[in-house]
């Protein structure tokens, strides 16, 4: 029991040291500046099609389900309201984060793990390069910047497909959906969504980079680290989602 607690604390401490190294790496923009743009392309621009597809289906299903859960007598503009709130506040950021954990996080872990087991990271250290500043910081910055960008697209596409689905496939009119869409809207709801996306981006980059950076035991270790990174990051995203809601949900009312 004591050994288990000590092991858990040790793992938290190791990640603390890793965070400290990232902080140190941020002081060297020349090292990570160029690489950051490349990572923004990999993490953000290349993930855009997947994000759009996921958001489109989320929006369509949300509108459809919402319409057919309403009991008789409820005005149909509620479909717009619930679709907007569901997509912007919850589904847009959360599902984008989870999907990118699989696409981006796993890739980061596999890349860094492979570099670790093939001793490329050791070679960087030998050449007096700070591997954290060169490999981790650009990914972290790119994820923190690009996740909110992707979530903006996800929200817009999700609401758009919700509108189309509601109007085309159900008896909700465009005017009713638009009315519900604008009902009780507060700009902080968008900010809340972007705060979540930023936190999720940081979690994806941090946990997946750490798992890749600390990979051992060859190719098998790379696979194990990748799987572990996806699991840890997914749980971390869900925990962060709950914490964000606990802290900020009271400010969401229009």
């Amino acid at each position: 029991m004591k050994r288990s607690i000590a092991g858990s604390l040790s793992r938290i401490g190791e990640r603390g040291y890793f965070l400290r190294d990232i902080g140190r790496g941020l002081k060297d923009p020349k090292t990570y500046g160029v690489e950051t743009i490349r990572q923004m392309r990999n993490i953000g621009v290349d993930s855009l099609p997947l994000t759009i597809i996921v958001a489109a289906f989320i929006g369509a299903v949300t509108a459809f389900q919402t319409r057919y859960q309403l009991f008789g007598g409820v005005q149909l503009s509620v479909v717009g309201l619930i679709s907007r709130q569901s997509i912007v506040l919850e589904l847009g950021p959360l599902l984008t984060g989870l999907v990118l954990t699989g696409r981006v996080g796993a890739r980061i872990t596999a890349e860094l793990g492979t570099m670790r087991v093939t001793e490329q990271i050791d070679a960087l250290e030998t050449l007096a390069y700070d591997p954290v500043a060169y490999l981790i910081v650009p990914r972290l910055i790119a994820a923190i910047i690009m996740l909110p960008i992707l979530v903006i697209f996800a929200n817009a596409i999700g609401v758009g497909t919700a509108f189309l689905t509601a109007v085309v496939a159900t008896d909700v009119t465009g005017a009713a959906f638009s009315e519900g869409l604008r009902l009780a809207f507060a700009p902080f709801q968008i900010v809340y969504s972007l705060i979540k996306a930023t936190l999720f981006g940081a979690a994806i980059a941090f946990f997946c980079s750490y798992e890749g950076f600390t990979t051992t035991a060859g190719a098998e270790g790379v696979g194990r680290s990748t799987a572990q990174a996806v699991v840890i990051t997914s749980v971390a995203i869900l925990v962060l989602d709950a914490l964000t809601a606990l802290l900020l949900a009271p400010y969401l009312q229009a």
Binding site: V34, I37, R38, M40, R41, G44, V45, L48, V74, Q75, S77, V78, L81, R84, I145, M146, P148, I149, L150, I152, F153, N155, A156, V159, E179, L181, R182, L183, A184, F185, A186, P187, I190, L194, A254
Partner: protein, 300 residues
């Protein structure tokens, strides 16, 4: 490659930021245009918030821009109306519920069509607010409380204070009363049956008595009565004729025509008659005093 990454990333970020800004503005205001401001002073607890819709005759024409709490018991509300909409003079602003989730909206209700419109930055007069979901719920709650109190009082009266026992006793008494009344009705029915029997017997006796009367005598009597009646009618006609003649005679006398009329109506004749009577009086007195002067009766 590096240059292409920069462009792509920049493009994606610019589009995303544009989508976020335009989307937020569209959701909050319905577009990029701000519209023109109007003001209204609503009482406290109106439930207005920034971004709520403004309806002109039921059509969404703007949104609530700012809500300022004032110490005089009012909330100064700034709302913006789209440039393409004009609010007619005489319009009244009220706060109305919007949907079933307790959201509110400003309803602008024109009293009548008017070509003159309220200019920007003017204050719209406020009308009475419609009750919201919370007020209706509160009313329902107070009604439920009252019903509960009435039920409790009823229960107290009926159960605790022995009302139910009294009611049972009253019902038992009523039952006994009904039995007695039933008995009384039975007695009445027996009496009525006896009376009916006696009445039937009386009718039979009467029929028997009337069958014994001679109808020929009755006919003769009736005929005599009819003749008597005819004679009486003739007599009455004679009386009427005589009366008419007497009437005409009296009229003649009153008018002073004819001998009798002149005698009765002429004062000279009256005076002459008095004088004659006077003289006859003195003559009679004289005769009494000295009869021999006038009567010389000699027997031998």
């Amino acid at each position: 490659m590096k240059k292409r990454d920069d462009v792509l990333v920049g493009l994606v970020m610019a589009v995303a930021i544009g989508v976020a800004i335009i989307g937020s503005l569209w959701l909050a205001r319905g577009g990029l245009s701000k519209g023109y401001p109007l003001y209204a002073k609503f009482p406290w607890n109106s439930g207005l918030k920034q971004g709520q819709p403004v309806l002109l005759a039921g059509v969404n024409v703007g949104y609530v821009d700012e809500v300022e709490l004032r110490q005089d018991g009012t909330v100064l509300t700034t709302f913006r109306v789209g440039d393409e909409y004009k609010v007619p003079q005489g319009t009244v602003a009220t706060v109305v519920p919007n949907g079933i989730f307790g959201d509110m909206a400003i309803a602008l209700t024109p009293r009548a069509p008017n070509r003159n419109s309220i200019p920007p930055n003017d204050t719209v007069p406020v009308g009475p607010s419609a009750p919201g979901i919370a007020q209706i719920t509160g009313k329902a709650d107070s009604i439920a409380t009252s019903v509960n109190a009435i039920t409790s009082a009823f229960e107290g009266q009926l159960v605790d204070d022995g009302g139910a026992r009294d009611l049972r006793r009253a019902l038992a008494t009523s039952n006994a009363l009904m039995i007695n009344m039933n008995r009384l009705v039975s007695q009445f029915a027996a009496i009525a049956a006896e009376q009916n029997r006696q009445l039937t017997a009386t009718q039979a006796s009467f029929r028997q008595a009337t069958s014994g009367i001679d109808s020929a005598k009755i006919d003769s009597t009736l005929r005599n009565m009819r003749e008597t009646s005819a004679n009486l009618a003739t007599l009455s006609a004679d009386f009427r004729q005589t009366s008419a003649r007497l009437d005409s005679l009296i009229v003649k006398i009153n008018q002073g025509t004819g001998t009798v009329g002149m005698a009765l109506n002429d004062p000279g004749a009256y005076n002459d008659l008095r004088a004659v009577l006077h003289r006859m009086d003195s003559l009679l007195a004289d005769v009494k005093r000295d009869p021999r002067r006038y009567i010389n009766l000699k027997v031998f």
